[in-house]
């Protein structure tokens, strides 16, 4: 999966009303709440076989930082 596909999967699963990019600060989105956290971590865990939880999102702000945390080498170019 490349970064664009990942972001579009996030957009669809979390039902964000505005477009998102690596620069988007996800916690500032209107739809951001505890349920969005579950959907986002669920998506990460399923796609990358990881075990992310809400705690892993505490110190990061943007989707770009999230991609870094998942590991850029896990994404296709």
């Amino acid at each position: 999966m490349n970064k664009e596909t990942f972001l579009s999967e996030i957009q669809e699963a979390c039902e964000f009303n505005q477009p998102i990019s690596e620069a988007t600060k996800f916690k500032e989105l209107d739809e951001w709440d505890s349920m969005t956290v579950m959907i986002l971590t669920g998506l990460i865990n399923e796609n990358f076989d990881l075990s992310f939880s809400a705690k892993d999102l505490v110190e990061i702000e943007t989707f770009g930082e999230l991609i870094q945390k998942i590991g850029t080498d896990r994404f296709e170019i």
């Binding site: 349920m35 579950m38 959907i39």
Partner: protein, 334 residues
Amino acid sequence: MGAKIVAIEYVFPDRKVTNADLAIEFPKYDFSQFESKVGINTRYVVEENETAFDLAVKVCEKLFEKVNRTEIDYILYCTQSPDYFLPTTACILQNKLKLRRDVAAFDYNLGCSGYPYGISLAKGIINSKQAKNVLLVTAETYSKYLHPQDRSNRAIFGDAATATLITYDDREFIGEFSFGTDGSGHDKLIIRNGASRSPFDKSAKVIEYGTGNQYTDNHLFMDGPEVFNFTSSVIPSFTQEILTKNNLQIEDINQFVLHQANAFMLNFIRKRLKIAKDSFFIDLWDGGNTVSCTIPIALKKYITNSNNHDSKIAIVGFGVGLSWCGGVLEINKI
């Protein structure tokens, strides 16, 4: 020889609790966001002196308006809210409903996976010629287990009871079922105190979780994010496995009826499986998450409103245990 669902009924308790009612108790919480994402507006809860058994009696009497009670020869009673530690509630139900004395009757303790388990068991009992007419009852009153300040769970869970009659038929209407168990997650949804391992503790300390929710070890605890993680990682592929076991594709199923846990989780699963909205049941607006009762309630609503005379339906239950079970069945309009 085969087995077939011929009747389903459900009841809620009379006492209705809307989001507006909860908003009075929890004025700082935005229930409009909850309502649109979780998909629940109203849940029903029993009175203090009313039990799951009382609801079970009501729903069975409703079923017996259409079905002859003397034909019942097996009672499967699914509950985690028994009237007593012992005896098994199903025996009391046999007497109360004036069913025959040669019926088999027992309780089994499962939550959200309980209904598909019951259908699978009923099929086995009928096909092995141990009984001809199995009464499957689910009855649950989680409201009794919730801490008054546990806003999240009070908003999600509702009480209900359902009754299903599964009977023998020349043809098989109930397909293959699959199962899953992972006891390493037993503490993700649990009432710790009150049984043998850890007695009821009248001075149990109040514990905070999530955003301002409270509970004690005498109450029900659910680790919502962990349960979501389990469900989102296990249930999409499990649902696919069930179809493979039944030699079916997603397009062959008229309706997917999964345990109605909450709308955002169901939508997550639906999207992962690429199932069209019309083929995937989501309706917990009126009633909420009623544990083992959600699937039969959904089946009844779907069949009543569907234009199809015959429907091929996939049912999947998942939750406390952790336990999951699902299969495929055909239902005629009933």
